[in-house]
Each structure stands twice: as structure tokens, then as C-alpha cells.
């Protein structure tokens, strides 16, 4: 296998990391929706935590995306 195609495959593999981010973000917001549906009064209290969780979950996936970009455009 030559280097160029190995890089493409590597970048594609690195993007699999975004699966976890997708699952995580979906989980965060589904929990937020069910929490607010059960207790609408708690919305103001739980929403900041939901967005904190969203940012943390998204960041882990972006580590993989950043690696993919580095493989494609830097090395």
C-alpha cells in the first residue's frame, strides 16, 4: 500500500471517533428532554449541565476529527 492511500484510510478510520460523540450528544439531549418532560420546573437547573455535557461529549469526538485533519493536511 502506498502512503497516499494509507493516509486516506487512516483519516477515515480516525473519523470513527465521531460515532462516540454522536451517541454522547444524543444521550445528553435525550436525557435533558426526558428530565424536563418529567419536571418542567427543573429546566433552568438542568440546562447548563446539559450544555456542559454536550461540549464535553463533542470535544472527545473532535479529537478524532482533528487527528483526521492532521493526517490529511499536515503529514
Amino acid at each position: 500500500m502506498d502512503l497516499a492511500s494509507a493516509k486516506m484510510i487512516g483519516a477515515g478510520l480516525a473519523c470513527i471517533a465521531l460515532v462516540g460523540a454522536g451517541v454522547g450528544i444524543g444521550n445528553v439531549f435525550s436525557s435533558l428532554i426526558s428530565a424536563v418532560a418529567r419536571n418542567p420546573a427543573a429546566q433552568a437547573q438542568v440546562q447548563p449541565f446539559a450544555f456542559l455535557g454536550f461540549a464535553l461529549a463533542e470535544a472527545t469526538g473532535l479529537f478524532g476529527l482533528a487527528i483526521a485533519f492532521l493526517i490529511l493536511f499536515v503529514f
Partner: protein
Amino acid sequence: MALELHPLEQFQIEPLIPLHIGGLDVSYTNSALFMTVAVVLITALLVLGTRRGALVPGRWQSMAEMSYEFVADMVETNAGHGAEPYFPFVFTLFMFVLFSNLLGLIPYSFTVTSHIIVTFALAAVVFIGVTIIGFAKHGLHFFRFFVPEGVPLLLLVILVPIELLSYFIRPFTLSIRLFANMLAGHTMLAIFGGFAASIGLAAFLPVALDVAILALEVLVAALQAYVFAILTCLYLRDALHMH
């Protein structure tokens, strides 16, 4: 289809005023320029915004007061009591990261926080500062932070190294989180922009996508500044109250 994409070109640091002291390259770069712009804008927002000090605040004064109250509330709820002396630091950190992130969203500008060395410097200041506060407040008792209470001795052999690792990894996760978000977002924008430049009439599709991503990036810019500040608060609470 051969695409000429250079999405990482936007992160290039260029010296604007070359300056060498000894063997050190301390040129005034575009990165330094945007840091200066961020600091000037924050100072203008807060100093000029609160200059009149009206009882019923106008729009400008409201912005200044809301940002102040937002961070003050965050420090109070997340860092616990006794954290008030550190509020100015958290506020400065939050405003600097927020303004750097938002300034980077302006086309053809430079994103300061997309460079790991910048975010790592900020995170290292937080980490070293928090560790010093912990030792100053608790003395050598601060080492108990790494020893969970009520755990059998056998488990401690495993848990203490894990606690130590999770403590020392903090500056890295804190800085990489912010850096990776900014890098990935801006690279994605540039890649779709590059598609638009190469496919002619169908270009409105990637441009529309770019607009959507830009909206997400505004959210991410604000959110990452919030996350950076709130994690600083949580680390501060660990140092002040130890669990």
C-alpha cells in the same frame, strides 16, 4: 477530481513587526495582534460600559453587567465559598477565551485559541495556580486528595495512581479540548469553502452548509469558553475544599 485544499493555511502565524532580542524571536505576530484586539475589546466593553453607572442600565452596560454576573454566579455555585478572591482570574480567563473564539469566527481573522500552545499556556497557569492554592491552603494534607477515603488498602494501590494520573492529565485535556474544537471547526469551514470554490454552480450547497456550521461554531465558541471557565472553577473547588 483533484481538489486544491489548504484548510490549515488560516492557522499560519506571520510576523507583522519582526523583532529579535538575543536569540529569541519575539516578533509581533498576527496571533499577538488578535490577542491585543481581544484584550482591547474586553477592556472597552467593561470600562466604557460601566463608565456611566446608570441605575437603569443601557444595552452596553447590560452586556457588561450580564457577563460579570454570569461568571460571578458560576464561581459561586461551582467553586464553593472561599473562592471569591479568584473570581477576577476566572472572569479574565472566560472573557479572553470567549473573545478570542468569537473574533476567530470573523472571516479572514485569526483564531488565537486554535493554537495548542496558547490554550496549553492558559491551562498550565490554571493547573499550576490551583496546585499552589491547594498546597498553600492545606499544606501537606493536600496529598490526601489523591487517596480516596474508605477504600481498602489493596484497592488504593490501583486507585492512587489513577487519581494521580487524572490529576496530572488535567492541563492536557483542558487545553486539547479547546484547541481541538477550534481547529476542527475552522478546518471544516475551510474545507467546505474549498468545495464551493471548485464545483461551480452547485456551490450553494456547501455554502449553505458553511452557514449552518458557522451557526454551530458560534455556539461552540461560547460553550467552550464556558466549559473552560467552569472546569477552572471545579478544579479550584477541589483545591479549596478537597472533594
